[in-house]
Symmetry: C2
Subunit: 96 residues, 2 copies
């Protein structure tokens, strides 16, 4: 079966320490010899996404390069039904 | 005289509210009909740099596109002489 878009190797960055996500990305690269991993984050986690990408490629997967970085704006609705905008980032790391 | 690299229109993002930097970027675009502005940030200000770029291009300079995003790692030495690494981002907005 052809690999679908939804099978992409995506790591979502949250509020844990950066090294948790570094480990997740490195593990993803090792699994099935994946050549591309996408790191996604929103809001204040964006800084941590950049930290994660930098630590991965400087220390752990040194043949990985930043293939593409996309920034955007997403609408988020909170529990009270109010909508606000939040920035997002997608960092695509590739060993190809 | 040819325009030198150091004349680049750069806005450094710090700890003020995002709208301060949005205003700075918009002002820079208006000045001398500048077609390119670079937004730079380090560490936790990276999220704010993305917010700034997104607000500028969604609300104020709607013909501006993200031309390039570069992430990197810089060494910073603190007052006690200790060195640590910090992530950085450069977002290049262009109306061309």
């Amino acid at each position: 079966m052809p690999k679908e878009e939804t099978d992409e190797n995506v790591i979502f960055i949250g509020n844990k320490p950066p090294m948790s996500y570094v480990l997740a990305v490195v593990t993803e690269f090792k699994r099935d010899n994946t050549s591309e991993v996408v790191i996604k984050a929103r809001g204040r986690a964006i800084s941590r996404a950049v930290d994660t990408a930098e630590i991965v490629r400087n220390r752990f997967v040194t043949d990985a390069n930043v293939k593409e970085i996309i920034i955007g704006t997403e609408s988020v609705t909170n529990d009270e039904g109010r909508t606000h905008n939040v920035s997002s980032i997608e960092i695509r790391l590739s060993t190809k």
